[in-house]
Symmetry: C2
DNA sequence: ATAGATGCAAAAGCTTTGCACAAGG
DNA sequence: CCTTGTGCAAAGCTTTTGCATCTAT
């Protein structure tokens, strides 16, 4: 755990983290549940949700909320870009060199057929920023 | 309607489109429902969902699926970037000059406190591409 | 010992869908 | 006319939550 807190490393949390680190498929919460269930048949879906949230919060994993309604999780916490297949909806890691570049610059770096991209800035608006000071 | 099809311009569809074009707030489906309901009290939520889907499909509006679980819609169909407030979750249009630039280059263009960004390529993977040819 | 975590089940969103009726072209 | 769209309600899915019990520290 990077963030200091009163978190406990329970067996459930440990197994969720291990399973997530063992794959590169960016599973959804339910898929993580299925993976973990093979090792801990009695784990509950609620526990998986709670732990994914906690692990993402303390920086152990990454929560991906791009481009589809159900969230997906990445065992690697470092920021890196992704490519989603429009057809099968699977999420892949983009080639390392693709950072800070835009779609057309990706040609030749991947066998993906690039259609476009989505980009979103994350920040705090002035209204909320001012509000947080008072 | 840009895409040729057997679509009809019903009053419901018309009003949904008008309401969406009258705001820049990127409302969710439910918010569109509330807006439209003021003019058509008997419209159903299902109709709103169906029409938003259809209007996005034929290019009249834009469906935004970035960074949060519920989808939001934009009356302007042209691609442009957005800034979401981490605090209030509202979605704003990014300044025009921000395109193709990355976060740190946005400094001075906006009073948003930029924390980071999300970027996703959209495409078709080779497996699906091959499959679509057979 | 005790705050934090779990399992279970119920509830709470958001979204989709089946169906009979209505209405646009 | 005849196909597409609508309203209503029910169902579907993902996610959250309340609570009694359990457990890591």
């Amino acid at each position: 755990m990077k963030k200091s807190s009163n978190l406990r490393m329970t067996r459930q949390r440990q197994v969720i983290l291990e399973e997530l680190r063992n794959v590169t498929s960016h599973p959804s919460a339910d898929e993580v549940y299925e993976m973990v269930r093979k090792r801990m048949p009695r784990i509950s879906l609620g526990t998986v949700y709670r732990n994914l949230e906690i692990l993402a919060e303390c920086g152990e994993i990454q929560k991906l909320e791009l481009g589809c309604s159900l969230k997906r999780f990445d065992g690697v916490a470092d920021e890196h870009y992704h490519i989603r297949c429009l057809h099968c909806d699977r999420l892949f890691d983009a080639p390392p060199g693709s950072r800070i570049r835009i779609s057309h610059q990706l040609k030749g770096c991947t066998d993906f057929k690039i259609i476009g991209h989505r980009f979103e800035f994350i920040g705090i608006c002035s209204a909320c920023y001012d509000q947080s000071l008072s």
